[in-house]
Amino acid sequence: SQTIHQWPATLVQPVGSPLSLECTVEGTSNPNLYWYRQAAGRGLQLLFYSVGIGQISSEVPQNLSASRPQDRQFILSSKKLLLSDSGFYLCAWSVRISGANVLTFGAGSRLTVL
């Protein structure tokens, strides 16, 4: 069965520090991978998606970047965090089968920037 892991689960970082959130998927090959951010009491905003190794697309202008060094690894990074980067970051994967496309989410990483 497929599983998705995110770490760290929680992170408190000072403004201006770097960030690295990691996501790995097991039990599937060549998944589409996604990073979403959820601000407190809000919906999920799509930040990045990837259809393959080294292929990254950004949905919104932002202070963050993403990378996919391996088929089942997706990393969210920042060189210098801003206060506005605080939020709940969710990684998801999908594989389109028979026209259906359901995103499966990880447990999330809660980032607080102080």
Partner: protein, 117 residues
């Protein structure tokens, strides 16, 4: 761009009652919708999906209704239980991903469902 929103941010129901959570969308070309449940501090979990060639789909204790004329979705939960307390999101699959292997989801703001005894 895609726009999915919800009518009410909170809903409180008594245990055993039926719950109805509503969602409106703006893109008349949207043809695939998904409902997710998110418990506090966790990632969203898939509940049920529906395509635009259907106006109703049933799962275990849940029913999704789609009214394309008014661009409205609803999620009905029968015999609501305390474990149903969560935030519920409707999500719309990006129409520009139709026919590709990618299926970006765009989410509404969410409705907080609280079940009291």
């Amino acid at each position: 761009g895609e726009s999915v929103g919800l009518h009410l941010p909170t809903l409180s129901v008594q245990e055993g009652d039926n719950s109805i959570i509503n969602c409106a969308y703006s893109n008349s070309a949207s043809d695939y919708f998904i409902w997710y449940k998110q418990e506090s501090g966790k990632g969203p979990q898939f509940i049920i999906d529906i395509r635009s060639n259907m106006d109703k789909r049933q799962g275990q204790r849940v029913t999704v209704l789609l009214n394309k004329t008014v661009k409205h979705l609803s999620l009905q939960i029968a015999a609501t239980q305390p474990g149903d307390s969560a935030v519920y999101f409707c999500a719309e699959v990006a129409t520009f991903d139709r026919g590709s292997t990618l299926g970006r989801l765009y989410f509404g703001r969410g409705t907080q469902l609280t079940v009291w005894p």
